[in-house]
Symmetry: C2
Subunit: 347 residues, 2 copies
DNA sequence: TTGTACGCGTTATCAT
DNA sequence: ATGATAACGCGTACAA
């Protein structure tokens, strides 16, 4: 024991059978005698026989592995999605290979190459914030590797997609700010070429326009990254404006906390002087003081559905079904970082 | 193109050479003519030839894959460790397979089986909070699969270990609380059979004793899980004590925020009435109000070192070097959830 | 009912 | 300098 694992051949010699018989017995082939089957299975059990996945893979030209590419996992957002993915893939026959692009297009391309080389049977991907070109994914598809895009869209790429209606989330948030009496509503947006960022911006703009609230160019700023520190300077800039905003809609919770931080520092009261709303509903957002009003997204379900769709697509490989487009609805969560909406008389 | 990848044989027929020659050319075998080498490499480049890792794996009896088992990834703690691991393994020849045990012993055992079946070349593991028996890891070791344990110790298991001096972190925190004038210091501990939890408790106890501060049994409570909600009830119980504590040292930041939450709710002022200190220094802990005093751990470095040690161990497989034991020092970070330490006159 | 032979893609060994 | 062959572990078409 210890040097190399048990193989079919080992068991065959042990039982004075041929390897193929042993193989068939293990796979419940109908033409194998019950006694042989039993004997084989018992021995397999005793010796803790585990079929070699590499031999299988070589034979079947598949790795039984699924690749997952995400920008990062330190935020709750992506780690919860991955947990959802794991919970679906884990019990299946497939293994998962999680890869981090670190929001870099270049690293993403490298990862795709690595996964392609590994012969993964499919991939789940949320592109980096730098990614504008999707040919690396198309190359995968051309090799018959199905691709499922989640959360961040890849415009122009034909693939299964599981997204969130960011536009609606932003619209809800901004309309609520307006109804609660805010009129000078600023937006701290994210990196500009991300679909999510764009849709949140558009939701903001439309909610303003549809409600007849004028937008000012100076009220819209974009941050370079998604972490707390990335939002500090832009937030400060916003709050130092002559015409100080009375509300900020931030692209995510971390940036919203930057705004809260700076607002407090400048002596503004929240929500009396300024309302602040985030996006994502990170678990700790409700424990801040003030607790953060934000937009909740069904992250865990999003991960699970993406994984299920990929599994289905792999199973139906060959049949040219239309690509699926699934869009989850986010929900506004009102806490104490924003004013309460006044009772809406009539409408 | 599209149906199956390019193989050595394909290129061999194309170039009217034998597969072995092509193989040697690609591997810069000395006995191959320069012109052939060049021709082969050019074709390989053109056709984007990628050696099949499964064929290699079959031949070399290794998968070039490293397994990572963690209890969860939604906390910053483990996701940052994993990021560190990725940053070391990513550039190497190895792939990573990340698995979540969900703090369940049973799932952990299943995962080990799965990874063993996959013929991983080594594993990095932080055991679940339920795990008391480590034979599943020993079985791996008996199959020549090196195991590196990180953060949470597996007492009695002989393996490379990369840990944190939780005892020292706790000791520092509690001694600081004492020096800052607190005398009724309570402890919200974690699940009892975790090494980290035990050491933090011991650090608390020793700091109390060495400084002549009496401990009360009722001041020590243990939570079942590590999330915010797991800490609420125990925190409430602590604060409802007749002899209300004037400080709480919590096993981690999430539980510390539970304590802050309950303390605020009960009208206690922080830190005037009660000081609260956490453990982990989660990134958002500094943005709470009050900002959380806590114990910082070098998570990213911990991940990197663990990965480096495993890589080294795999490379030196066979040579019976002694197991390494690396212990990182955590650092107390004082913020505003605890009183300032008075200037220490004389000592 | 069971055994034989082959092939998946690669490399190492032994020829030529 | 290059080719043929075997082997890694498995499943399966074909043969018996």
């Amino acid at each position: 024991m210890g040097k190399g694992r048990v193989t079919l051949k080992d068991m065959a010699t042990e039982l004075k059978l041929s390897p193929s018989t042993v193989s068939r017995a293990l796979n419940d082939h109908p033409a194998i005698g019950d006694k042989t089957k039993k004997a084989v299975k018992e021995l397999a059990n005793e010796l803790d026989y585990q079929p070699n996945p590499m031999a299988l893979g070589l034979l079947q030209k598949k790795s039984n592995t699924i690749g997952v590419i995400v920008p990062e996992i330190t935020s709750h957002f992506f780690s919860a999605i991955i947990t959802g993915i794991q919970d679906v893939i884990g019990p299946s026959e497939y293994n998962i290979m999680i890869c981090l692009s670190n929001e870099s297009y270049e690293e993403e391309v490298t990862l795709v190459k690595k996964l392609s080389k590994m012969r993964v049977d499919g991939i789940l991907v949320s592109p980096s914030s730098e990614t504008k070109d999707f040919n690396h994914f198309r190359r995968l598809q051309n090799n018959d590797v199905p691709v499922v895009v989640f959360d961040r869209d890849c415009p122009g790429l034909e693939a299964d997609k599981v997204l969130v209606d960011d536009y609606s989330g932003a619209y809800q948030a901004v309309e609520y700010l307006i109804r609660s009496g805010c009129s000078k509503i600023a937006h701290l947006g994210g990196p500009l070429n991300l679909s999510t960022t764009k849709h949140r911006l558009q939701g903001y703009l439309d909610a303003m326009e549809k409600n007849g609230v004028p937008t000012r160019e100076e009220y819209i700023l974009h941050v370079d990254g998604f972490s707390h520190k990335d939002g500090l300077k832009p937030a400060k800039k916003l709050l130092a404006l002559e015409n100080t905003p009375d509300a900020i809609f931030a692209v995510n919770d971390s940036i919203a906390t930057s705004a809260i931080h700076m607002a407090k520092k400048m002596g503004l009261r929240i929500p009396e002087d300024i309302s602040i709303v985030g996006f994502d509903d990170e678990p700790h957002s409700s424990y801040f003081s003030p607790s953060l009003s934000t937009v909740w997204q069904p992250v865990y379900s999003l991960g699970m559905l993406s994984a299920r769709i990929l599994l289905q697509r792999i199973k139906d490989r060959g049949s040219n079904d239309e690509f699926r487009l699934e869009i989850f609805k986010p929900e506004l969560v009102i806490r104490t970082s924003s004013r309460k909406e006044p009772i809406n008389i009539v409408g």
